[in-house]
């Protein structure tokens, strides 16, 4: 919690919000480019963009600051485990949303097959899987073992 408090100053949070909005727009444009309808369903698409941005960009700005987002967007390697986690979840979330689109064209005639629902759900599942993946990778295969030790190193870095 101490990390969050530390970043709770006004300018920083406004910048975070701006980055969040930019992320929303980015995902909106991406969804349209991938074939989402722009005329009739722009509201849904915008909501989808906001949702995915909330899953990916928002935690990044919240926990590691906007600079991490910049670093990620300019394709730089993750400096530490904590950044790596967000990178990984970002990839998993996008992959989940990508796979979620597979349900839309099927002729099952279900209400939940409407456009952003399956993709949002896929993104959510991908997000969760991403966290699980990084957790398993870290605690089963990782070199650093214990939870407390890791946390300490983080707070040490940011204080």
């Amino acid at each position: 919690m101490s990390i969050i408090y530390r970043h709770m100053d006004l300018v920083e949070s406004i910048k975070g919000i701006i980055i969040y909005c930019l992320g929303t727009i980015m995902f909106f444009v991406a969804a349209v480019l991938f074939g989402a309808e722009i005329m009739s369903k722009h509201e849904e698409t915008l909501m989808f963009g906001a949702f995915v941005s909330l899953l990916t960009i928002f935690p990044m700005t919240l926990h590691t600051g906007r600079q991490a987002v910049m670093k990620f967007m300019t394709n730089q390697p993750a400096p530490n485990m904590f950044h790596k986690m967000f990178y990984r979840t970002f990839q998993f979330t996008i992959a989940g949303a990508w796979v979620g689109a597979a349900y839309i064209p099927l002729d099952w005639d279900r209400a939940w097959q409407a456009w952003p629902i399956t993709c949002s759900f896929g993104a959510l599942i991908g997000n969760i899987l991403g966290y699980m993946f990084i957790l398993v990778q870290h605690f089963v295969f990782g070199t650093h073992g214990v939870f407390g030790k890791k946390k300490k190193s983080f707070s040490g870095k940011y204080s």
């Binding site: 009739s40 910049m70 300019t74 394709n75 099927l106």
Partner: protein, 1037 residues
């Protein structure tokens, strides 16, 4: 050497094609629709006539039928219950009673107490409603493709009972499934059609039928009522046959029938029938016992003709047509193949009893004559039947004729049996040709195409290309050809000695098998190298190749699902976009690692903006926006009903102006590009063509579109129709001529002998040289040639080619869709540029790798080609084929030219993509010379596209590899569509979705093969011409 590569490519593709043809022979049964109509020479036969009927042969052979029997005032109610299986009606007393048993109590009652007759009504496959309704009215065996029928609409123009009824002034009322009104538009006096498409809707059609049937039955003006209820069929599709809903639907139908039976009068005949059955799971379409066994109940308050004639429990569906015709007193439709069912005929008059035999034999004989007439007519115009079979049947016919002439009571029953057997035999012959899936050819075709694809994959992907090159240099190719030729020759010899009956089939199989044997010999002999090569490849795998595999698999496996085939238009660009973005994002920013520590955040951002990756992302964004724009040119197919929104309200003038403007911009840009590359200097023929002809083309196209969109009232005042047709013909011939000319003179370069040489990068020596030349006047004759545009010699030709191709297709596609062409060409060039930059990033520091085209580039190209198939307003259904393009040259009598135009129009995207496939290999070198910033080691590519010319062997190898990869991927798609059509041959949608998909994939594969070879030949032609140029120049020196 070039010749050998062409031979190898054509060998592989011919093997694939023959496997494809083998499969389609088994899968696609075709039948020609004959347009003749039947008629009666003598309208009604009196009993006196029947007595002497054997002497009553009418010599006039214009009519297919001599007599039409029947009582003029008979009325009929045909009540079709879709998918009414036999055991839904037949009484059941067993222990395992299902929901569908014993629900049709009214029919049961009629059969047991009132003399109605219940039959097993055997339908012919394909057991789909569309084909069954066709068979129930024409009496023939409709196949999926009835040649000669109209593709654009579903209207039946073969002879049929509905037309016959109307021509004899009967009133026909129709209620129910709208399939009928699609087949017979504007025929019914009153019609109440209901939509049949939504199989989840169990009640709309039935309720409609129920309400209208009651009022219609009250009226007296009708002669025939046709009612078609769908509830049972839809219930089967939705829930399967063993479901409480089925009991409800059957009971409702039963109630409807009760009303009908109660209101019938003495001269009405009731037919209750199922058009096909269903499996236990409720599907139909195939030929299993449960699907083909429908029920038929015939009831009349009058007793039927005779109970002395034996009642068979089973009749064929096609038998309905002649029986119905005899009852109603209309001629049997010309192409009917059924046998009249005597036990359902009403009596001719009160004292028919003594004449039963005469009447029966007469009816049977007219039937035999009618069927024979049709069969001989068909065999005369068409060579589908083997001649030995035709001769045998005709011999039987003559012997029957003898028997009929000497008919008496004693041999009556043998005559009847023999004529029934004769008609049965004849129908079986037709059925073997028209109806049955030939599982032999299908399975062989599938196996052979699979083997060829996999062996071809091993040869292309597994064999190191140097080894392949050595192999092609050596005698292997000749041995292989010799082997194939020898086996085919053996086949012909065996056929000559009558040891093989079906030559075509056995030729397909032997040529395929021998090619497969030859290829597998090659692989087995070089297995060690293949294994080694793959092992190396495996070690250096990257995420992009994995994702390529996933996307290739998804795009192929999707064809097994009907909804993916229906929505493929939006799935292909989705996959293409994903692949492009993955390949772009996969590119690493090399220098950032070092950068990151030192610099601040902002300068990293600045670095990113100037990096190659940022440029790549911008290019990909451009490409993506273009792809997204093409979505607005989609055409919807019927099944997409809710998910497809077309933008319709663009005025014709606006689209016309937009198209002309975009074309003008396009050629202006292309000209600017060519000029800057130096390929527009001088006056050699190709340069002249590329300088002026596009402008002429744009003017002609624009004039044509604008004049064509004038209101039809004013048009004839201004000009004749041939004058306006002159414009597209001009465009066509200019473009076609330009392409031929480009093949003959492919080099868009200009050669001069300049005394001044500008050395690249070394200014001082060149100035010195010039100074020296000026000072020493005796050395003026420096004959060193200067060639303009040599660095982009390949791409210049291909740019010109693409311009002319786009004009050809613009004329074909018409003004509203021609913009897509410009977008398509832009997409292709952008894609090639993006892929080449990514390739340079991947293949760092090794120049040799830049020749080979990786799988993901090929996949992108293939996806793009299928995307633009949809974007040019096509869908894999026959109803969306743009038939109007066949008429751009006016009315041409032959079918070949309009047919070619339609095929060109439909597959223009595949054609363009396969012709311009070499771009994937050429563009990297163009990029390296034109835009050296994005290439790391650009100094290695100073020669530009001349690298391609200099590395002769490498170029041919990799060109072959590229072609083979593209062909193999297309063939793989064809294989998957074949496979899905094969597995889904029982599926409800097989004839609506899977079979058309297979046909479109197959035809696009066949069409693209020659253009692929043409593209390859273009590259080789340019290379030989360059070598001519080089030797010429050095000779002069």
């Amino acid at each position: 050497m070039t010749c050998r590569y062409v031979l190898l490519v054509s060998w592989i593709s011919l093997t694939l094609v023959s496997a494809l043809l083998l499969f389609s022979r088994g899968f696609l049964m075709t039948r020609t629709v004959l347009k003749q109509k039947s008629c009666c020479a003598v309208d009604s036969v009196h009993l006196e006539g029947i007595r002497n009927s054997r002497n009553l042969f009418v010599p006039d052979s214009n009519c297919s039928q001599k007599f039409c029997l029947g009582v003029g005032n008979t009325r009929a109610i045909i009540f079709v219950v879709d998918a009414l299986r036999y055991d839904f009606v037949a009484p059941y007393s067993g222990l395992e009673e299902q929901y569908y048993h014993n629900k049709m109590t009214v029919l049961d009652d009629l059969v047991t107490t009132k003399g109605a007759r219940l039959y097993k009504f055997i339908a012919d496959p394909p057991t789909t409603t569309f084909q069954r309704v066709n068979a129930l009215t024409t009496g023939s065996l409709p196949t999926f493709i009835d040649i000669g029928s109209n593709f654009a609409s579903t209207e039946i123009n073969e002879d049929n009972i509905i037309d016959k009824l109307i021509s004899t002034n009967r009133t026909v009322v129709f209620i129910g499934d709208d399939t009928w009104t699609g087949l017979y538009p504007n025929r019914f006096t009153r019609q109440y059609p209901y939509p049949s498409f939504n199989v989840w809707d169990l009640d709309t059609v039935d309720n409609g039928v129920k309400s209208h049937l009651a009022t219609e039955l009250q009226k007296t003006d009708w002669d025939v009522i046709l009612a078609h209820v769908l509830g049972v069929d839809h219930c089967g599709h939705r829930y399967g046959s063993k479901h409480p809903e089925m009991a409800r639907k059957l009971s409702e139908t039963n109630d409807m029938l009760r009303e009908v039976v109660e209101s019938m009068d003495n001269r009405t005949v009731l037919f209750v029938m199922g058009d096909h059955g269903m499996t236990e799971s409720g599907d139909h379409g195939g030929e299993s016992h449960k699907e083909v066994t429908a029920a038929l109940v015939v009831y009349s308050k009058n007793p039927f003709l005779s109970s002395r004639l034996s009642v068979a429990p089973e009749i064929q569906q096609v038998d309905f047509v002649p029986t119905f015709s005899q009852i109603m007193g209309i001629p049997v439709p010309f192409s009917s193949l059924g046998a009249t069912f005597l036990t359902n005929l009403p009596p001719q008059s009160e004292d028919y009893g003594s004449n039963t035999h005469d009447l029966a034999s007469l009816i049977v004989w007219t039937n035999v004559e009618q069927v024979t007439n049709y069969f001989t007519e068909y065999a005369r115009t068409n060579s589908q039947f083997p001649s030995s079979v035709v001769d045998k049947l005709l011999k039987n016919y003559t012997s029957l004729l003898e028997k009929y002439k000497n008919l008496n009571i004693a041999n009556f029953s043998t005559f009847m049996e023999e004529s029934l057997k004769y008609m049965n035999d004849l129908r079986e012959v037709c059925r073997a040709v028209w109806v049955q899936f030939d599982s032999f050819s299908m399975s062989r075709g599938l196996v052979l195409i699979f083997l060829t694809i996999s062996l071809g994959f091993i040869v292309v992907d597994g064999l190191p290309s140097e080894l392949l090159h050595d192999m092609i240099k050596g005698p292997f190719l000749w041995y292989g050809f010799l082997f194939v030729a020898a086996s085919s020759g053996l086949c012909c010899v065996l056929h000559y000695f009558k040891l093989i009956s079906r030559l075509e089939l056995s030729l397909y199989i032997t040529s395929c098998c021998s090619s497969i044997v030859a290829l597998s010999c090659l692989i087995v002999l070089n297995w060690y190298q293949v294994a080694e090569h793959w092992y190396k490849l495996n070690k250096s795998s990257d995420p992009l190749s994995l994702i390529t595999r996933v996307i290739a698999l998804v795009s192929a496996v999707g064809m097994f699902s009907n909804s993916y085939v229906v929505q493929e238009s939006s799935i292909i660009p989705y996959l293409l976009t994903s692949l492009v973005w993955v390949s772009v994002i996969d590119v690493k920013l090399e220098a950032v690692k070092k950068f990151a520590e030192k610099c601040s955040n902002f300068s990293i951002f600045g670095y990113f903006v100037t990096s190659v990756k940022c440029k790549l992302i911008l290019l990909a964004l451009c490409l993506n926006v273009i792809l997204r724009l093409t979505f607005y040119f989609w055409e919807c197919r019927e099944e997409q009903n809710t998910n497809c929104h077309r933008v319709k309200n663009i005025s014709k003038t606006l689209s016309c102006v937009m198209t002309v403007i975009s074309f003008a911009t396009f050629i202006t840009l292309a000209r600017l590009l060519l000029r800057n590359l130096g390929n527009l200097t001088g006056w050699s023929p190709p340069i002249f063509v590329s300088r002026y002809f596009p402008t002429v083309n744009v003017v002609c196209c624009g004039c044509y579109w604008i004049l064509n969109s004038l209101p039809t009232v004013n048009k004839p005042k201004l000009f004749f129709s041939w004058q306006i047709q002159l414009l597209p013909i001009t465009v066509f011939f200019i473009s076609g001529g330009a392409i031929v000319l480009l093949y003959v003179f492919p080099l868009c370069v200009h050669r001069t002998y300049n005394t001044v040489l500008y050395h690249h990068g070394n200014l001082i020596p060149s100035i010195f040289n010039k100074m020296r030349n000026i000072m020493s006047s005796h050395n003026l004759e420096d004959r060193t040639p200067v060639v303009y545009g040599l660095a982009t010699v390949y791409s210049a030709t291909f740019i010109n080619l693409s311009i002319f191709i786009s004009f050809l297709s613009a004329v074909l596609l018409g003004e509203s869709r021609a913009v897509v062409n410009v977008l398509m060409i832009c997409t292709m060039f952008l894609l090639a540029v993006i892929l080449s930059i990514v390739k340079f990033e991947k293949a760092k520091n090794s120049k040799g790798n830049c020749f080979s085209v990786p799988w993901w580039s090929v996949l992108c190209w293939a996806l793009s080609s299928s995307h633009f198939f949809y974007a040019t307003g096509h869908q894999p259904t026959f109803s969306t084929v743009q038939w109007d393009c066949a008429g751009i040259f006016g009315n041409i009598v032959s079918t070949i030219v309009p047919g070619m135009l339609v095929i060109l129009n439909t597959f223009i995207s595949q054609i363009t993509h396969s012709l311009l496939l070499p771009l994937l290999m050429i563009i990297p070198f163009t990029v390296a010379t034109v835009w050296p910033k994005v290439v790391h080691n650009s100094h290695e590519f100073r020669n530009g596209e001349l690298e391609l010319f200099q590395n002769d062997d490498l170029r041919r190898q990799e060109m072959f590899n590229l072609l083979a990869r593209y062909i193999l991927f297309s063939a793989f798609k064809v294989f998957v569509s074949m496979f899905s059509a094969c597995i889904h041959s029982r599926h409800l949608m097989v004839w609506a979705i899977f079979a058309p998909k297979f046909i479109f994939e197959g035809v696009s594969f066949l069409v693209s093969l020659p253009f692929l070879l043409l593209g390859f030949l273009f590259v080789e032609r340019i290379s030989t011409k360059i070598s001519c140029l080089v030797t010429e120049s050095s000779h002069i020196d």
